[in-house]
């Protein structure tokens, strides 16, 4: 299609906007998509719901990226980075959807700032404005704990996205249709690792058991229903049904792995309402620091 020697030349030649970062998508991830809020749907509740879904995947993407140069083998590093990239892609679309549904959620920056809405939401909100569940913000810990979390999260995410394909919000439905295909692979990947580690050596089995114990207190929060969901009967996924599916899949994997549900007390929830542990603040300091130094920056 082109006679460039490399992709860089193509980017530089085409136009300036595409040059700002390799691996980025268009300035507006929803360019060309109709973002009108369906009639009868509360735009503010829709924005809150999109932030919940977006922040889950954005925060976990950041945690998965932390494995780069630290994973047990290079193939796994590539796998975790790829899973993170899928989740980041979903987050961008969902953040842009939140901004379109209710512009009031987008942080204000100095006049003339070129930072697009999805970046403003990712980089310029404080921790208490994030609506992710606590599960995704916990430090990675052992590789086995990362796999335990990825199993629970991707089972949960897939259960939600499968239902959201039927959402009356066409943007959510489209994001979900795409996401289902991606998260299916994430769930399989995590499930196979959990079984492999549980049935490997004594050491790997012990670490898998410990990893599962570590993430299990945060599983209960996935069952909490937020007000925004109650206000969006035909938009949001059926929460109880999705949670039921999640536990069924996790049990299926635990059984194949010869493991049992850990016997640990649930941790406090509240992430959806902005009540987080210190881990999220630390993660955001790392993720947001550079962008916040340059609110007028063009990347």
């Amino acid at each position: 299609m082109t006679d460039h020697d490399n992709a860089y030349e193509g980017l530089v030649e085409a136009d300036d906007d595409a040059r700002w970062a390799f691996g980025s998508s268009f300035d507006d991830p929803l360019a060309g998509v109709d973002t009108t809020v369906p009639s009868g749907v509360d735009g503010s509740a829709l924005a809150t719901y999109c932030l919940m879904l977006a922040d889950d995947s954005l925060v976990l993407a950041q945690r998965l990226a932390e494995w780069t140069t630290h994973a047990p083998e290079i193939e796994e590093e590539v796998a975790l980075a790829n899973i993170g990239l899928d989740l980041l892609g979903q987050a961008r679309l969902l953040l842009a959807r939140a901004a379109a549904a209710d512009p009031a959620v987008v942080p204000a920056l100095p006049e003339g700032s070129p930072v697009p809405d999805d970046d403003r939401l990712a980089y310029f909100r404080d921790a208490d404005a994030f609506r992710n569940v606590r599960l995704v913000a916990q430090p990675n810990g052992d590789f086995a704990a990362t796999m335990a979390r990825l199993l629970v999260f991707s089972a949960w995410r897939l259960a939600l996205l499968e239902r959201l394909r039927a959402s009356i919000d066409p943007v959510l439905a489209a994001v979900a249709e795409k996401g289902v295909k991606e998260v299916r692979y994430h769930r399989e990947h995590a499930a196979r690792w959990c079984i492999t580690l549980a049935q490997g050596t004594d050491v790997s089995r012990e670490r898998m058991i410990a990893g599962m114990r570590e993430v299990w207190p945060d599983v209960a929060e996935l069952g909490e229903v937020h007000d925004a969901e109650r206000q969006l009967p035909d938009v949001a996924a059926d929460h109880a049904a999705a949670f039921g599916d999640t536990m069924r899949v996790v049990d299926q994997v635990l059984q194949a792995a010869g493991l049992e549900r850990p016997d640990v007390a649930p941790a406090p929830g509240g992430g959806r309402s902005g009540r987080h542990t210190a881990s999220l603040g630390e993660l955001l300091a790392d993720m947001q620091g550079l962008a916040r130094e340059h609110p007028m920056g063009r990347w």
């Binding site: 085409a14 595409a18 998508s25 268009f26 590539v78 961008r92 295909k181 899949v249």
Partner: protein, 141 residues
């Protein structure tokens, strides 16, 4: 040559007065190649004399590996990438490894999956027990 149309990511081209509008769909939500694809489309149009061009994205219907043309599949194989098989699209959890793709170097079916995720999100990484070569397989989605 493998084209965007062969890959199934080119969804539509229309001419509105003197502006060409090209619609692409990403293979994966976070596909980093989309930026390069857009740049290439704009350069190709400019060279063909269309100064006013616009590239849009569409998310729905979601891209499927089934949209890759026969020519696209042949071209992938030619470049050592095992083409995707038809996508049956189940969302039930599968814990057993799927049927391994054939080695793109020697054609042996005796291959194993090294990683579910290869050099890009759309590919998995495999190795051949017969000839020892490593190859990518384009995943079914």
């Amino acid at each position: 040559m493998l084209t965007l149309e062969d890959l199934g990511v080119l969804r539509d081209v229309t001419v509105d007065d003197d502006t060409v509008v090209v619609t692409l769909t990403p293979t994966y939500s976070g596909c980093p190649a989309l930026t390069t694809m857009r740049a290439d489309v704009l350069v190709a149009l400019r060279r063909a004399g269309y100064e006013r061009a616009e590239v849009r994205t569409t998310l729905s219907p979601a891209w499927s590996s089934d949209w890759i043309s026969d020519r696209g599949r042949a071209s992938l194989a030619e470049h050592g990438i095992s083409p995707p098989r038809p996508n049956d699209g189940p969302t039930d959890l599968i814990l057993m490894p799927s049927r391994p793709p054939e080695c793109q170097q020697c054609g042996s079916a005796d291959t194993s999956e090294v990683s579910h995720f290869g050099t890009t999100a759309c590919r998995s990484l495999h190795t051949c027990r017969a000839c020892g070569e490593t190859f990518d397989h384009m995943k079914e989605i």
